[in-house]
Symmetry: C3
Subunit: 144 residues, 3 copies
Amino acid sequence: MRSKKLGVSTPQTYAVVLDTGEPVLDKLREFASAEGISTSHFTAIGAFESVTLGYFDLDQTRYLEIPVEEQVEVLTMAGDMVGSGEDRRIHAHVVVGRRDGTTRGGHLLHAVTRPTLEVMVTESPAELARRYDETTGLTLIDPG
Amino acid sequence: MRSKKLGVSTPQTYAVVLDTGEPVLDKLREFASAEGISTSHFTAIGAFESVTLGYFDLDQTRYLEIPVEEQVEVLTMAGDMVGSGEDRRIHAHVVVGRRDGTTRGGHLLHAVTRPTLEVMVTESPAELARRYDETTGLTLIDPG
Amino acid sequence: MRSKKLGVSTPQTYAVVLDTGEPVLDKLREFASAEGISTSHFTAIGAFESVTLGYFDLDQTRYLEIPVEEQVEVLTMAGDMVGSGEDRRIHAHVVVGRRDGTTRGGHLLHAVTRPTLEVMVTESPAELARRYDETTGLTLIDPG
């Protein structure tokens, strides 16, 4: 365990609303880029017309894709954005609800909004870095 | 996608604790009204003695009801309150956990607390508005 | 329902990152103790190599254990830490995602990190107390 004091938080906060047809990760990247935000975390609720979830296979060191090809409620979406420009990484996990109330969830690989996604973004008072992890091939937050 | 800078956040935050038998949405509305809060977002954990979940059917433009008539853990509850008085809208999504660890989730239509629900409410530095969406009949957050 | 105004929030916020093999509750307790934090709340995403979930049985007034003995994505983890020293209580609920995208969730009894858990901790501007609840035998947050 390592931790980093991010500082007294008087952060900029943003409400970001995505509309029907908008791809979630692309739009969040566009938002962060336009506002010049390098480190932030977010939560969201809303709905997707479809989503591809990921499960990280530690042996294969890659995400297995779990497509959910149906309209679902976004019950939770939580994650962070770290870095800037081409190096900006968005890490988000979601739980979605189906027509019968059962749920699916995983790492967010791809999702399209319908009809709305309400994202609350909180900028971090300090920047965080990510480092490449050789064991998994993932880039993990490094408070170091 | 539209976004709104909510401003530097030195928000009032509140811990709201609901007790056995208390209806969640009514009590949150009562709390927001008493404190004079117009825009806020919240997260919560706790447990319900029962809950009615909703899944929004885009063709019928209405929520299908999914009753869960059993004691469940509230694994996540996330949402926002926008507006004041009769126009106050609470939008919340929940994931609940059953006795065997399986989950159900959806839009929160109705829930009764047992034995406790711990809600962390953060007031927004700026007000948000909702607008009526003709396609769905929903009132969606409009950062416009 | 009772509530407590926690005060204008210019809180210390922390990014706490747990690594492979680290037990979640022990490490969070260690972190809070080292930083001298008495009341805080947190959210997290990441992954566990295994987790034991709990479902509170109101008749038996104890948590039933639901072991999940497999690598899972941590889709949401939300909770709070209240008190200090031996009296510090961590209350966390989690939803985890399995290889096929199905989910399990409950009260967090025990979990081991793999490969990472990213926890965002927000210190509360005011302290909260917990009180012993005779009906359930639980210690619940008491906004007094």
